[in-house]
Symmetry: C2
């Protein structure tokens, strides 16, 4: 390689004006609405460093594509075409859930990867994903070192679940909760069209972490808050739930419940698969947790109910993204690229919130990827009320800055600016 | 009343600068995302005619509220406060589904209504609803004539279902299909994040009319079209459906189906309640038609599936409204008011599309409400393909002008401006 390097990465000095190799970018895990914005950030920034990076490739369907030698040559796209990535949900270059074995157990994939990297002179590897994907980067980085292949790997965090440790919030989370909070407002207001409404139960993603479901609290700020919020961090008790629903509905003739798909009973079993619920009501409750709970409420109290699964719409939400989220996702991609070409390796980009609570500011940094790989960050218990059926207002200080946007008449603080009767 | 009138309404002349009475506005039936924009149009316009209309009231929960003497005095709201109605889903003043008997069968409600009208000096009655609600207006108008109570009633059409005859499209429809088409794009792109996707089945509102489901075809324009579209106007055949899904999924490893909640078998029975489906697979298929069909596909072919119910989000969609829809909804409200104070009665506002297909233009007019009351307008069969599993492109000429908006980078022709691989 035509560059000088010191084993101490801090002191690495690349020879100016020297092309040292190519970059590959890949997408992994469940998409977010801004994963493609990070891709845009990477590619745009890479084009500014032609002296170091000659070509930029994307893996077509992530690691799976890489192993099949299926690469996308990004030279075929103008910057104007690529700018559309900012409005594109899904993983535009294709994602995957391929699980790489450890090279000590099975070296086959690793040999193939290094062969392909050599063939395309890949020296920079940026992978965009969640905690599993970070484990993939870590393993490839370690293997490259082992076989003495010069490679700079940086992880670009993304997941709507917001469950990566050491990261204030992950790219994708803000847009997801912006959609969730506004969808909850819409459901609230539609139900309040009638004097006597229904018990509405909204199922929100998050198998283990309640960050997304907690986001529904934001709709409190335009007066359309849910009545009950249940997250997976604390046990869900069916009897208390039914009592709460009854008392709320009998008082208000409306009841809006937001519930994580991953709520569990006190033994840690997912509610959507507990046999207790099957037996209690004599037959299997099909569907997700919202439709199960809705059927139970119907049977128990004969209230009209409606179950909602926000499903993919929350993670593919490009119709109401947080522009802050898009901006930060781009920035995270740019930052990863800048650090990789400075010789950083086996690291992940972090976002740290700095400044006062009223003045939102983010500092980008790097930490060792091994600290994040395969680990989960849960919703702090201080955000959950003592009855385990709601989220505390302190969560709003955390979440509200994330969904801000340019002011217009339609939205206020990122939430529908709605008319309410006096 | 202090005004001259001729029995021939065409010649009616109100005395200038003379307050002749008050106005009541009501909302009825299922809300749309722009029903409140029509309310805004009515109230704003009424305030310009203080010489004729002294006060504006809204019924709190429609006819039900009226019968309970539950009125909202709109003098308590500034125009700035009322402007928020344009961003507010649901029926902000409260809706209802109260069914008025004919006065020949039961006069009780009518006597009460006229009493309340007299008490508040209501001379103008504007009711915002679908075909059932138009029937209500017609009856009240007829009864008022019968008892010689001077009353001017005009219907303001709204329904996401777009099923009112003599009306090119109803306020609310455009925003609903804009949401549907873009949600379908999001689902398409999320599924295409993976090389091997799922069979995704999206359930769209419309018990008898396929207008909303046909709207999913719009996503063809950004390259994210559904593979199959089923509407209630033609019979749904389960065997053909399964064959179609199989052939598409085996070829593409993706399959996106849009289906009206109201699809029926050849005997006219709703698919979501046919016992044939129950029996064929040995147990009751719970849930709506999408989740039923998904379970059948899973059982038959062992494909991974995902069922979506867009549910209330399509009719309460204020996060991605059509600005044309909002504008027209306001206009319809204004127009109704203007006509009522000109002495029109027992009429409904119509929208007629004029001009060339490339240059969209709407003419507002009135017709006798009896022509619309309790009648339904179905999707013309010319829009449905001969295999009864898709919508013809001619539908796009009809629908595309309705979802246009100011150009920005995010949307093109009202649809997400997405990046696609070459």
């Amino acid at each position: 390689m035509k560059f000088k390097r010191d084993l101490n990465y801090d002191k690495i000095i690349f020879m100016k004006e020297t092309i040292i190799g190519n970059l590959i970018y890949g997408q992994s895990g469940g998409p977010t609405s801004v994963i493609n914005s990070s891709a845009y950030g990477v590619i745009k920034e890479a084009r500014k460093h032609k002296n170091i990076i000659s070509k930029v490739y994307a893996m077509h369907f992530g690691l799976e594509g890489l192993l099949n030698n299926d690469l996308i040559d990004l030279d075929n796209y103008t910057l104007e075409e690529l700018a559309k990535l900012k409005n594109t949900p899904g993983a535009a270059f294709g994602s995957n859930r391929y699980k790489l074995s450890h090279y000590s157990a099975d070296e086959k994939d690793y040999i193939k990867i290094i062969d392909i990297f050599k063939k395309y002179n890949i020296r920079f590897f940026l992978y965009n994903g969640g905690n599993d994907s970070m484990d993939t980067i870590h393993k490839i980085s370690e293997y490259a070192k082992k076989v003495n292949y010069e490679l700079y790997c940086v992880g670009i965090p993304k997941t709507i679940d917001n469950d990566l440790p050491f990261i204030d919030h992950t790219a994708g989370y803000a847009s997801a909760i912006k959609f969730i909070a506004n969808a909850v407002s819409e459901i609230y207001l539609d139900d309040h069209s009638y004097k006597k409404g229904r018990v509405n139960i909204v199922e929100i993603m998050g198998r283990n972490a309640g960050w997304l479901t907690a986001g529904s609290l934001l709709s409190k700020l335009n007066g359309t808050a849910p009545d009950l919020i249940y997250v997976p961090e604390v046990p869900f008790d069916l009897t208390s739930f039914l009592n709460d629903v009854k008392s709320i509905y009998e008082t208000k003739q409306h009841c809006l419940v937001c519930v994580s798909e991953g709520i569990k009973d006190e033994n840690g079993n997912f509610i959507f698969e507990t046999s207790e619920l099957k037996d209690k009501f004599g037959h299997t409750q099909l569907g997700g947790v919202a439709s199960r709970l809705a059927k139970i409420v119907e049977k128990e109290f004969n209230y009209k109910t409606r179950a909602f699964e926000l499903s993919l719409l929350q993670r593919a939400n490009s119709i109401l993204p947080s522009s802050l989220d898009i901006k930060e996702a781009i920035k995270v991609g740019e930052f990863a690229l800048k650090k990789a070409i400075k010789g950083e390796n086996d690291k992940i980009v972090t976002l740290k919130r700095i400044g006062t609570s009223s003045k939102y500011k983010i500092k980008y940094d790097l930490i060792d990827i091994a600290l994040v790989a395969n680990k989960e960050k849960y919703l702090p218990l201080t955000y959950i009320n003592s009855k385990c059926n709601y989220i505390n207002d302190t969560f709003l200080d955390y979440a509200l800055p994330l969904i801000q946007d340019k002011k217009d008449n339609t939205f206020n603080n990122g939430l529908l600016n709605v008319f309410k009767l006096k």
